[in-house]
């Protein structure tokens, strides 16, 4: 019967107030995450596009050149993605301290693997970028480098998503055994593919903008391979694919969401987000099929709607998280308060036994000294034989007529014997205690 019981842990919260009002922290979290994710999208999407274009470039030289241009942007975008990630990390750590850290610990190895994996991926993107000409004759190796980087970039978001998913379900913490079991919780994969769609979509829009800049010398870079118009069209077609994937998987995400955090508010915001995506998709398709003069007509609309979509999406995730954890947070707060109360009570009425010296009256006038010895020295010194330090009988033979010397030694010992570890000093003992202690030690008969 016990096996069937649902067991949800209620940890204690950090008993310190939040540094800011909750709404402000939430705002900071959503806004800073928006900036972070845009550059993450560009980093992952840029790598995917580069890899695709470079493979296509084996047959069609024009795409090789295109791949080179996009590759140059990855290393910049990745640097920004990382630094911009620190603020949302800080904010989520502050807002959901216990939930986030619990999820981290439960997926520990995978979680810490993010650091070396990202580092390796970054080094690979540099290697790829700076060997563009020197590996021109060995295209397979060069493309292999990018493929490895892409592989890393595809694994890393999965670890992140597993964590932010796991943190919302304390009721699952007792059943999770390592990363893989957390990965298989519902909703991780649909969100992952939705994310990949977003990477491709944002990169597509970025490519349109990047190639539309006035001071970007398309003519010298591509000569007559690609015109600005061609490149923009390429960008729009990438965006259309990405947006399409996003809508498809967005719908799956909505229907596979575990019910506990769902509310009409969440559904409404998600539906709004979906409409924005559909809007962006429609106009991207329009731009793709339009003629040269009208290719820029809808750009602002598309970029803006995707940006607002991201705010909506981030907002809906936060609402879901809030709903999902609300009850548990109340329990945790009550539990923490109760613990604080108990702790205060215990502080005010400390248990006496440990503090008091255990005095054995039968020992007469050395009883106190014996008790002090037991508390401070007995772990290392015995009466007749060597334990950690020398036996007491040896102390007596050295210090029988030199109480001051013994006291000094206890306070600040040196290292005398090569085959013994050095003794730590006991300067915290009062003079009274030292008198009693040495009286006891020297009372030991050989």
């Amino acid at each position: 019967m016990m096996l069937l019981q649902i067991n949800t842990p209620v940890p204690k919260d950090i008993p310190l107030p939040l540094p800011l009002p909750e709404w402000l922290l939430v705002t900071l979290l959503i806004v800073s995450f928006l900036f972070h994710i845009i550059f993450i999208n560009l980093m992952v999407g840029g790598s995917l596009v580069t890899l695709w274009a470079q493979i296509k470039g084996l047959k069609d030289k024009r795409f090789d050149n295109f791949a080179h241009e996009i590759a140059k942007t990855i290393t910049v975008n990745k640097s920004l993605a990382v630094v911009l990630g620190v603020a949302p990390l800080l904010s989520i750590n502050t807002l959901y301290t216990v939930y986030f850290y619990s999820a981290n610990a439960l997926t520990g190895f995978a979680w810490i693997l993010i650091i070396p994996l990202v580092t390796i991926a970054f080094l690979l993107t540099y290697l790829h970028k700076y060997t563009w000409y020197s590996l021109e004759k060995n295209k397979t190796i060069h493309i292999g480098i990018m493929a490895l980087a892409v592989l890393n970039f595809l694994v890393i978001p999965l670890i992140f998503l597993t964590n932010v998913n796991l943190m919302m379900f304390p009721e699952k913490w007792g059943t999770v055994k390592g990363f893989i079991s957390a990965l298989l919780l519902p909703n991780v994969f649909p969100r992952y593919f939705e994310f990949l769609g977003a990477c491709i979509a944002v990169t597509g829009i970025f490519i349109v903008w990047y190639n539309g800049r006035k001071n970007y010398p398309v003519e010298t870079i591509y000569q007559d391979q690609f015109s600005r118009y061609d490149l923009k069209k390429l960008g729009y077609s990438i965006a259309v694919i990405g947006l399409g994937l996003q809508i498809l998987f967005g719908v799956i995400v909505l229907f596979t969401l575990p019910s506990k955090g769902i509310g009409y508010d969440v559904i409404a915001v998600m539906a709004g987000a979906g409409c924005l995506l559909a809007f962006a998709l429609w106009y991207s398709y329009q731009s793709l099929t339009s003629d040269k003069e009208h290719i820029d007509l809808h750009f602002k609309k598309i970029a803006l709607s995707v940006l607002v979509f991201m705010l909506f999406y981030g907002g809906s995730r936060q609402m879901y998280r809030h709903n999902a954890l609300e009850k548990h947070q109340e329990l945790m707060a009550a539990h923490t308060a109760e613990f604080q109360r108990l702790s205060k009570e215990a502080r005010e009425n400390p248990v006496e036994e440990e503090v008091e010296l255990e005095i054995d009256p039968s020992l007469g006038e050395v009883a106190k000294g014996a008790a002090i010895f037991k508390m401070n020295c007995a772990a290392c010194h015995k009466e007749n034989e060597k334990l950690v330090g020398p036996p007491m009988t040896e102390m007596v033979s050295i210090y029988a007529d030199n109480t001051t010397g013994l006291k000094q030694w206890i306070k600040a010992p040196g290292k005398k014997r090569p085959d013994y570890p050095q003794m730590p000093g006991f300067s915290q003992l009062s003079n009274d205690d030292l008198n009693e202690l040495t009286k006891y030690i020297l009372s030991i008969k050989k």
Binding site: T8, P11, I14, V83, L84, Y101, A105, V118, F122, G174
Partner: protein, 487 residues
């Protein structure tokens, strides 16, 4: 709790953090002024009809490229890695710190974002700036500006570090200002600044020996300049290090209950003295020989001092960490992540009853070993492993003799008093029964050589006393009794 049973949890943080400090100090804070200085030399020494000596400029650019790639990959990721690893190993302490220092870290973050953007601009506009003298001068000015910026980033983070080291303040005055005014802030900054410059100079010279061809004029010049740079900073490094070295025992005294340092600390502290002397003399030798015999300087000669100055920085970090003990947040939280003020409660009820994750709450003869395991996980595992680095069996065998069977009674007598003798150890928080379970577990570890895996592999056992069910029942009972008394 997350637990690495072989490497030790603290080792994970230490490895990431020290790598980060090396890169941040050596390749950013110190390196950027060094590079800017050399870039400026190129313009100054160029023939009057040219903007800069292009060959020279290219050598400096290559050095910067190495630093740029390392800082934006390993440097940046180890920075984030500190957050990740601390969150895994020491969640309660970082969770507490973040609630107090949110703004400090947020400010630090904005400075940091700016720093990264500036580094990107500085490096990526380098080649373009070579087209006109005006652009080149602007680029150099930009380099100096960036140097100041990266120094400010360090100055802020040292303050946060300083606060964490500063005992007592946590309980009274939780502001960042305290970090700036605490007694080891200034010594740390005065030590770190020139040391960063020195590390940069030595590393820069190492890169010269790699990039510049033998017997060329540029190589000779670059090595000479590096020698000048090293010699100029060495006195400051020595002064800063001695200053820092002198204030450490004071910081230590304030934190520990006893005035005299422990033996482990004394060993480190002594070693530090030799490291200061060794590093300073090595730096002088390297600097002087670079000035006198620049042609003879080879990669093999520079790599040794280079490793040595990195080690110098590392050992200071190690000692700084040691000063903190037995606390992780001075006067507030012990290094086992338990708050000092909760100790009376743990003494009364035992630690397991209040642990979120434990399989045992009432200890019996039958579950003694499991209970001991959970006590170990909750109170010892942040610093000790079972069989790996700094393992619990090793530390007891070191005391009672290697190879000898451990005696449960001796250990049980020792543990409650260990904080008196080994002042870097926090007091044992649990009750008598838990103590007996713990020593039985330690004995079992010695007998069987078994290890202990963290929750990242085994998952968690939820303490039924702290499950949602019993917590809500508690709340309901309370409400009911309140209603009854009101009636």
């Amino acid at each position: 709790m997350f637990h690495l049973d072989w490497l030790n949890d603290r080792f994970l943080i230490a490895a990431i953090a020290i790598l980060h400090v090396f890169i941040n100090h050596g390749l950013a804070v110190g390196f950027i002024p060094y590079i800017t200085w050399l870039e400026q030399k190129g313009v100054k020494n160029a023939p009057s009809n040219q903007i800069t000596d292009l060959k020279w400029d290219n050598l400096i650019y290559q050095k910067m490229k190495v630093a740029f790639i390392i800082t934006t990959t390993i440097g940046a990721m180890t920075g984030v890695g500190i957050w990740f690893s601390v969150a895994l190993v020491s969640p309660a302490s970082i969770g507490s710190l973040i609630r107090v220092f949110y703004w400090a870290w947020f400010t630090e973050w904005t400075v940091f974002v700016t720093e990264v953007v500036l580094i990107l601009i500085y490096f990526l506009t380098w080649k373009n700036s070579n087209t006109s003298l005006k652009a080149k001068v602007r680029h150099i000015k930009f380099g100096w500006f960036l140097s100041i910026f990266s120094w400010i980033t360090m100055a802020i983070i040292v303050s946060i570090l300083g606060f964490m080291m500063d005992p007592g303040n946590w309980n009274t005055d939780k502001t960042l200002l305290n970090g700036f005014t605490n007694p080891i802030y200034l010594p740390q900054l005065l030590f770190r600044t020139p040391t960063a410059m020195l590390v940069a100079g030595v590393f820069g010279m190492l890169l010269t020996t790699i990039f510049a061809k033998r017997e060329t004029e540029i190589r000779k010049k670059a090595i000479k300049y590096a020698g000048q740079w090293i010699l100029a900073w060495t006195p400051f490094v020595t002064a800063g290090a001695v200053f820092y070295w002198n204030v450490i025992p004071q910081a230590m005294k304030d934190n520990m209950s006893t005035a005299v340092g422990t033996m482990e600390f004394a060993q480190y502290y002594d070693l530090l003295k030799y490291f200061i002397i060794g590093t300073a003399s090595l730096a002088v030798v390297l600097g002087v020989s670079a000035l006198l015999q620049p042609r003879k300087i080879k990669f093999a000669y520079v790599i040794v001092p280079c490793l040595f100055v990195f080690g110098f920085l590392g050992i200071f970090e190690r000692v700084r960490e040691f000063v903190r003990k037995p606390y992780i947040i001075g006067g507030y939280m012990y290094s086992n992540l338990l708050r000092e003020e909760d100790y009376p409660l743990y003494k009364k009820d035992g630690i397991l009853k209040h642990a979120t994750y434990t399989a045992v709450t009432e200890i019996t003869e039958d579950n003694k070993l499991v209970a001991g395991r959970d006590v170990f996980m909750n109170t010892c595992s942040r610093c000790h492993t079972t069989q790996g680095v700094n393992s619990i069996t090793y530390v007891f065998e070191r005391m009672y003799g290697f190879g000898k069977p451990l005696d449960e009674n001796s250990m049980a007598a020792y543990i409650p008093n260990m904080h008196n003798g080994r002042t870097y150890m926090p007091p044992f928080p649990g009750n008598k029964r838990e103590l007996n379970a713990l020593v039985a577990f330690i004995k079992h570890l010695q007998q069987t050589g078994e290890g202990l895996e963290g929750v990242q592999t085994t998952g968690v056992d939820i303490n039924p006393l702290n499950s949602a069910k019993s917590v809500s029942e508690n709340i309901e009972n309370k409400e009911n009794s309140q209603q009854l008394t009101q009636k």
